[in-house]
Amino acid sequence: MTRRLFRKLHGVRNRGINPSGFHPSQIQFYVILAPIVIFMLLPIVFIVSNAFKPPEELFAYPPRFFVVNPTFTNFSDLFNLMSTANVPITRYLFNSLLVTVLSVLASIIVSTMAAYALSKKRFKLKKALFAINTVSLMFVPIAVNIPRFLIIAKLGLIDSFAVHILPALAMPVGLFLLKQFIDGVPDEVIEAAQIDGASDVWIYWRIILPMIKPAVATIAPLTFQATWNNADTSSMYVNIESLKTFAFYLSTLSSTTSTANTIAGQGISAAAALIMFLPNLLIFILLQSQVMSTMSHSGLKG
């Protein structure tokens, strides 16, 4: 009774969590958030600005933050450039694209299959296996670089194309998020299909996959970021220049520019950095509403 009265008095809720309209009390949050958001945004504006600066502006003293006469010179320079090993830039880009697309697709299939089993199938080791995966959320890959290197070498994966893809598929966070999401799919749906004689593969393909699209849309950009941004695989496991990725190429640019032609290389590496960053941003913008709906399932029970 009082609760209903309270609601009536306040009408549509514009204060507090998830308001539906503007209320003056929100101004304080904008005031606090504004400087933080600007600080977070500056480096990204900086990349964009530098990428479009003509040489004389990159050389200018004192340096200016914003570009005045934007040009595409840096991009055309970048694409005309050959790496020291005579591999064209487009080759690195092509490798990156291929590796990333294959990794994303493979990781969706591998993780959703495992998540389906962990969520909806009954078997003895179910709880134990999920617990192991949850512990490995805390796994810090960088800590075991050395044994990983030894194992990858033993498996003969050095200098292979697969070395870019296979390690990226074991992604505990992805499996965790998917499993939590599939838990939300009602058992009745699956039981009904089983009574109709549906096989597990059919259930997985026709029921589970269509129902967990938001979760798939969440792990896809995570895998995308992890592989697209990955320069370590190329520098550690690949010695053949034409099998390396664009992220690796960018890392060589920034290390060479620190010594010799600092300014000339600055524009080119900013252009390359922008090319690295943009796909991540676009994919996330496209999928953001689905990502948020999956994230509400992300809770970890201690």
Binding site: N18, P141, V144, R148, L175, D200, A273, G302
Partner: protein, 311 residues
């Protein structure tokens, strides 16, 4: 004779029974399980084994017991004097600091209407999408040590500094810069999870609390918001801890050298690489790796205690 056939048939039957009942589940799991085993479980196991040996990559590893760990704790001056204090300073500020920051930001965002909230969340999340390679380009230009560096030129104009400062090469500035840069990129998956968690909370809880006389927002945060989203808080905490230790390479990326100038930005991850890939003392490097994994586990245990949903 007959009995053995009978037994065989029985075990076969049992296997078929098992395969019919649980086989599919394992089949669905198999791809992930194999990759998980190869790239996560076995590396950790090998690290633990190697940490008990002397291994220079040329000769076969020689078992030396716990000597690597004893050396690490008693004789590794650099580890005790620089690496461990640096790691703790970095981890304490970036870990809990970044975590509280991402919770507060998520909470403030949740008080806004949908469209501005989405745009601001995207802006805050976007730094975590940049790779360390991209960051190296940006930050090195920004903190460049000559007078043409953006920060140098800016501060000179304001009259705060007289001449150019070698930001990334000077021990006293490297660590604060590393911390700022890492905080900048720390609003990642955990931040999104917390934002989603806050938005999921049933608004009636707040209304009920308001009727019961709860008046200020801090009370709301501590008595309603955080208790209602413990699972997301824990997920965010684990992500923050992992992110903190994973970000350890930042000092080397920024200064361009391992070891970093006067070990000012040397973190445990750099120490591992220093011994593993520069000095080829793989056994010793593995011992440091195990120490690192144990530290992560310990921190996660603490987070678990704080946000456990089972009383």
């Amino acid at each position: 004779m007959n009995a053995s056939i009978e037994r065989e048939r029985q075990t076969q039957g049992r296997f078929h029974q098992w395969a019919a009942k649980e086989g599919n589940a394992y089949a669905f799991l198999s791809f992930y399980a194999i990759l998980f085993l190869i790239f996560i479980i076995i590396p950790v196991a090998v690290a633990i084994l190697l940490s008990l040996t002397y291994f220079d990559t040329i000769q076969f590893p020689r078992f030396i017991g716990l000597r690597n760990y004893i050396t690490l704790l008693t004789q590794d001056d650099i580890f005790m004097k620089y690496v461990l204090p640096n790691t703790i300073e970095f981890a304490v500020i970036v870990g809990p600091g970044g975590y509280m920051l991402s919770f507060l930001l998520a909470w403030m965002l949740s008080q806004l209407t949908r469209l501005p909230r989405t745009i601001l969340a995207l802006i805050l999340y976007s730094p975590s999408m940049t790779s360390s390679v991209t960051m190296a380009v940006v930050w090195r230009t920004f903190f460049s040590g000559d007078q043409n560096g953006y920060l140098n030129s800016f501060l000179t104009n304001l009259g705060i500094i007289q001449g150019p400062v070698q930001w990334l090469q000077s021990p006293q500035y490297l660590m604060p810069i590393m911390i700022a840069v890492t905080l900048w990129s720390s609003m990642g998956v955990g931040f999104l999870a917390m934002l989603a968690g806050i938005l999921e909370i049933n608004p009636e809880l707040y209304e009920a609390a308001a009727i019961d006389g709860m008046s200020n927002r801090w009370q709301e945060i501590f008595f309603i918001t955080i208790p209602s989203m413990k699972p997301q808080m824990l997920f965010g905490a684990v992500m923050a801890i992992v992110g903190t230790f994973q970000a350890g390479a930042i000092g080397v990326t920024l200064s361009g050298a391992n070891p970093t100038p006067q070990y000012a930005g040397q973190l445990i991850v750099n120490h591992i690489e220093d011994f593993g890939f520069l000095r080829y003392e793989m056994g010793y490097a593995a011992a440091i790796s195990v120490a690192l994994l144990l530290m992560v586990l310990l921190f996660s245990r603490v987070a678990n205690r704080l946000f456990s949903s089972e009383e």
